[in-house]
Each structure stands twice: as C-alpha cells, then as structure tokens.
Amino acid sequence: MTDTTVLRLNGLSKRFGPVVANDDVSLSLARGEVLALLGENGAGKTTLMNMLFGHYLPDAGTVEVADEAGHLAPLPLGHPQAALAAGVGMVHQHFTLAENLNALDNITLGAEPLRAIRRDRRGARARIEAIMAHSGLKAPLNVPVGRLSVGERQRVEILKALYRDARILVLDEPTAVLTPQEADTLFASIKAMTTEGLSVIFISHKLHEVLAFSDRIAVLRHGRKVGEMATSEADEAAIARMMVGADTPRIARSAMAPGAPVLHLQGVSVAGRSQRDSLKQADLTVHAHEILGVAGISGNGQSALANVISGLSVPTAGHIRVDGSEIPRPSPARMVRAGVGRIPEDRHHEGIVGAMSVAENMVIERLDDPQVQSRGLLRREAIATHAEELARAYDVRGPGVTAPARLLSGGNIQKLILARVFERAPRLILANQPTRGLDMGAAAEVGRRLLEARERGAGIVLISEDLDEILGLADRVVVIRDGQIVETGSHDRERIGLMMAGEAA
C-alpha cells in the first residue's frame, strides 16, 4: 500500500435554499485506503459525495482526482460522465437501477457508445463474469433487476462501478439493507480489492462496521467536517460524541407489571407480493403496560406485520383481537376506531400529506369527530386552535400550523405524527421504526413518549432494526424471521442476534 493521494476535495460548499448541506468541506483519500464518512442524518454526507460524483454542482470548492499516472488533476464538476471517466464510481444510498432491465444491461448502461449499431453483449458478459469471479460479488445477469433481492441489487450497483474501472469507489450506506452476513462478505471483497489499489469512501451508520473495515474516519456535523481520525485510535463513544457534539442522553425506565392483553394475533397469515412482505401463521400478544420489541433483519416480514396492525392489509388467515374484541375485516379506519395508534415506517410517504397544512395533518385520522367537523363542514377555527395546542404540547417546530407539512424537518414531522397518535390516548400503539432518521435528541423524545404511554396503560409494538433501541425500550422481545414470530424470552444481545440470523431457535 502506498500513500499517494488519489482524491482531494477542497472547500466544497452546497446550500439548498435555506439549508446549508455542506460548508467548506475538505477531504483527501490515499490509494488503497478505506475512508469511513460518518455523521447524523442530514449531516451532509450524501450531498458531499453527490458533488464529487457530479450529481450536484457545488456552490464553491473544487475536486481533484489522480489520473492513471497518479497526477492530481481538477475534475470538471457537475458531470457524472467526467467523474466516471476519471475513475470515480459511486454506489448511491438509494438504488439507481432500471428495474425493467437485467443486471447486464444495468451494468453496461452508459459504458457503451449510444451510436453503435450493435452491442457486444458476449464480450460484456465475459468481462462482468471475470469481475464477479475476481471480486466475489455475484449476481444473476439475465433476470430483470426488479426481481432480484436487495443484496443482489446492491452487488449489481457495485459491479456497475467496477465495470467502469473505478479506482475510487464511493459507497453510500451500502449495508443498510443487507444482512450482517451479506455485509461481511461485501466488506471482505472490498477489502481484497483495496490491496490492488482500489480506494474506498464508505458511509455508514453502523459503527462496528466502521471500526472493523475502515482505515480512517471523517465526521460531518451540520454540513461541516468536525473531525478526522485513524480508525485504530477510535472507539464508539468517541465517534458518537464527535457526531452529536455531546454525550447521548440515557432513557430511564421503570419496571412495571403487564396488564390485560390489548393485542392478540392468532395464526395470522398475510400473502404479500414477495417473501419480504408475507406473514406465516404469526402469533403475538401485547399487554397493557408493556412494550413489545420486534427485532429482525429488514425484509423479514416487518412491514407485513405493521400493515396488519395498522389495518392496511387484510390477513388471509387468523384472528386479530384488539382490547379483547375481534376485528373482523380490518381497515385503517376500523383500527383507528378500535383504539390503535399507528406510527408508520415511512413518515413522508404514509405519515403525512405533505401538501396539506400541519393542522390538517393533525386531524386527518379523525374526520368524523364532531370537534373537527359539523355537518360535513370542517370546523376550521377549532382545528387551528387544536393544532396550536398540540404543536405546543409536542414541541412541533416549523413555519406554523397553517404551513404545508412538507416544510417541516424530518424530526418535526415525526413529532406531528406522535402528537396525532398520542393525543387520542390509544390502547395500542404500533411504532414502526419510530426513530429512523432522527437525531439523538428527537429520538430520545420519542422514547420518552412511548414510555409515558406504557405508564398510562397502553400496549406498544415497537418494530425496529436498531437492536439497541429495542433492548433499551422493550419489556419483552420477539424476533421476526421469514414471516414468523419467535419469542426470545431474553434481552441477550448475542442470542437475539443469532435468532435474527436464523441460527438459533
């Protein structure tokens, strides 16, 4: 390994309207080095990489990339084509795959001249197969990408970069959707390639990965680079402190005896479009005064379970009882009426109607309520007053309750949803990934509210991919794996981790 610099970012800045996403960020990367880029959600990591790759045009700053001979040369900005030509490959945070095409087409897309009358598919296939063999990253080439698993898609994304002879590989949260095993294999392959001179920047929220696989760590906070250190000198606590700028608050919880069952699922099956959103004969009971944690690797039926509890999908078999009474044909409205409060996983997509006002989003689940309407007409004053009160009580900050909800930041959108849910004092609360994308303060607030509801006597289903969150909040933990729910009977990290991976019962 040499330490010649292959990439230098100099003073990159980028604003989006009022938001300063990056502020004067400089970084450099050595040949064969693995640099981990860390920071909270919204810190500006993706933005920085998007400027490097040419998706975004920086407001200020330059990028230099080494050519084959190792001489740094300025990279024309704002042109992915130029970045690719300079040997920069990027695997985006969200898949950039055409799902109607197969992996071969996705990989060769853009690599072949568009004017050519013929494609050399055979040659391309041979080259990809060689790369697959060499890197250990394998994916079926002939199937439309829409039918591949997330892990396979992730590998296709990396193959895309390697096929373009990337010497600098940017990976934006490559393992967010992978199982720990898949993540390990991936890193092993990448590590192997770095010995041949590949340089890597990877973004991750999983500190253990960062510690295990990176050589160096850079941390962004509020768009600025706040620190850099060699991985060998870092530990989790130090990184966390650097990311947040303070020590993380701890949540206190008291012991409490569970009460009567508020949710009872008995042999519930859901036939989803794929393995991932199916449930098989699931049994589950949640009691009053109890937080039930549902642990599991993403894509094992969590969304099917959430859809059943929130009334979005009708089970093909089994019974659902809320507060002792059976819900025959579940629908979101029936669930709300039965006293179920639902915090959806994707708050932007399912939680709010972004174009409607904050106040309207606060009453969207209770349009039949005489406080909200009389004779079919909205009681606008009452709605506005109510919204002001609620916003104050739940600390929803933003441009005001009459502004469109989409203008709120992610954390405040979540607070809006919490306010809407908790206000009705639900008997049962479904909290699906409630702190995803929230900063530490906001996440602590969600935890506090959930514990408060538990105290009041609600039963809570907490679905989360963050095992730490579950272990911190839940009274009881179950694991969901392959559409089946298994009791763990313990709070033991190791054991639950193994069960999640399907290696222990």
């Binding site: 790759f53 998706h55 975004y56 045009l57 042109h79 992915p80 084509q81 130029a82 970045a83 690719l84 030509a85 990027m90 985006h92 969200h94 950039t96 795959l97 055409a98 799902e99 109607n100 095409l101 087409d105 996705n106 060769t108 897309l109 853009g110 690599a111 072949e112 001249p113 568009l114 004017r115 050519a116 009358i117 013929r118 494609r119 895309k160």
Partner: protein, 314 residues
C-alpha cells in the same frame, strides 16, 4: 356467420386491414418510443395532422414523394421538440402540454394550408405512392396479394416495427431509453443525460407519428382535407397500452384494430339493413377497451411515465 368467415378468408380483407393499420403502426410506434422514455405524448393527434399536411404540401410544391416523407418527419420532429422542451427540462404537465401541442399543430396546419391556398374549391391532388408490385413475391398465394397491394409506406411501417424493436432491445441506445423510462436516476448515475435521451426519444417518436399522418395524404389518399385524421392519433394512445409498450405487440394491436375496421365496413355492407351502422363503427373502440381491461393486469407501465425529473433534485 358464413359471411364473416368468407370475409376473414379473403385476401382483400387482409390487404385492407394492413392498409388501415399502416398509419396506426407509425403512430403506435411513435407513442411507444415516447412512453418508453417516460413521456406521454398527447400531441399525437395534432402531429398526425401536421404530418399529413406537410408531407402532402411538400410533394405538391415539387419535393418528390420521399421529400414529402422527409418533410413530414421533420415537421413531426419539430412539434415533438416543442413537447419535449415543455415536458422534459421544464417538467410541465404532460397531459396539458400534449393537448396544447395537438391544438397548436392542428391549427398551424389548417391556417397554413388555407393561407397558402385561399381559393381552392377542391383540394389539389398529388401523385401518391403506388402499390409495390414486386415480381415473384406478389405471386405468392394469399400473402402475395395481401402484402403486395401495399405501397412503400406500408413497407416502411413494417420495417419500422423491426427497426424500433431492434433499437430498443439490441442497442445501447435502446437500453438507455428503456432505463430512462423506468428510473431516470439509473441513467443519470451512469453518466448519460436524462434530458438528452428523453428529448431525443420524443423527437424521434414524433417524427414517426407524423409519418402516420403522411401516409393518409400520400398513400391512402392523394390530397389533404381538414379533419381527415379523425381521431386516429388517439387510437394509437390506446393501442400503446394494449401493446404493453412492445413493438411486436404494437404491430399486432394495429392490425387487430385495422381488421376490426375493415370487418366493420364489410359487415355494414352485408348487414346494414339489420343493425344500425353505428354498432359496427363503435366495435373497434369497444373491443379496444375490452382488450385493455384484459391486458391491464399484466400491463407494467414504464415506471417513470408522467414523472418529471429535474437534475440535482430529489
């Protein structure tokens, strides 16, 4: 019943079907290319008119038949470019822009025609494309008479089916067009221009549509009339979905529609006294809807259809 069978077995019926289908083939292929790239082009009806007018006008002014075809394609490409600018970089509503283009292209054609020819009492005629009577091939049983009553433009349409299929499925350009209609980010991330691909596809698709119009004035007939496009463009919009955005199926759909129409004319002559003629006129449309209902389940839309995409925005 025997009548219908006799009709279906006759060469002239299939020749008529193919003839009626020809403008639709051009139109469906054009619309298909636009939609594969993610843009709905409701300008098609007007682009047909412009193609019909310009092609004819060019020939009438002495450009020669193929010169007319070229002019029609260029005119179609121009209005396609207009639609492309409005819907791709500006990301305006594809529905409204399309309807606006239809209104604009139609009125420009009519106004130009009338201003150029203020005092005609009967539309001037041109010497249109003649059926290609290819030796040997035309002697084939059944197929010969069906195929070889057709003009060069029908042949061109049939070749376009193959060409569009080949380009879409066998060239890098086609793969990129399919990708941009499914997920523009996939193209952007590979260093290709989303705007360039979409604009190019719309321009090319619109040029093809215009050939459908040109067929009407340069092959099916030999003069330009107001209102002669008569909804053929709209039919193509429906046929694209029926065809699940595939050139081969597009040919099939257009032929099916042509066959319904040809059958309609023939049944009307046979049974006109028994059933109101309109029942037959309606049949192709009703059958199209039925076909759509059946095909809808499996129809997988280009995922990015109707979705504007802006560079550097998420």
């Amino acid at each position: 019943m025997m009548d219908i069978l006799n009709i279906l077995l006759s060469e002239s019926f299939w020749a008529a079907s193919l003839r009626i289908a020809t403008p639709l083939i051009f139109g469906v292929l054009g619309a298909l290319i636009c939609e594969r790239a993610g843009v709905l082009n409701l300008g098609i009806e007007g682009i047909f008119v412009v193609g019909a007018m310009c092609g004819w006008m060019a020939v009438w002014l002495g450009a020669g038949l193929w010169g007319g075809v070229l002019m029609a394609a260029l005119a179609g490409a121009f209005f396609g470019l207009l639609h492309a600018i409005l819907t791709v970089p500006l990301g305006l509503s594809q529905h409204v822009s399309g309807l606006g283009i239809t209104l604009f292209a139609t009125s420009v054609s009519y106004f130009t025609y009338r201003t150029a020819l203020p005092n005609v009492s009967s539309p001037p005629r041109i010497e249109p494309f003649q059926p290609l009577d290819l030796p040997v091939l035309s002697d084939l049983p059944f197929l010969g008479p069906v195929l070889f009553q057709q003009t060069a433009l029908t042949w061109l349409a049939l070749m376009m089916v193959g060409l569009v299929w080949y380009v879409l499925n066998r060239t890098a350009l086609g793969v990129a067009i399919q990708a941009v209609g499914d997920n523009p980010d996939s193209v952007d991330a590979q260093g290709l221009s989303v705007y360039g691909l979409r604009i190019g596809a719309i321009v090319a698709g619109s040029a093809l549509m215009a050939l459908g119009g040109a067929f009407l004035t340069m092959s099916a007939f030999d003069a330009f009339f107001f209102g002669m496009v008569n909804g053929r463009g709209w039919v193509c919009i429906a046929l694209v979905i029926f065809a699940s955005w595939r050139p081969g199926k597009a040919l099939f759909g257009a032929l099916l529609f042509g066959a319904f129409d040809a059958l309609q004319v023939r049944l009307q002559t046979e049974m006109g006294a028994l059933v109101p003629g309109q029942v037959f006129l309606m049949a192709p449309y009703i059958l199209s809807i039925m076909a759509l209902v059946i095909a809808a389940r499996s129809a997988d839309y280009p995922r990015a259809l109707l979705q504007p995409w802006f560079k550097g925005q998420r």
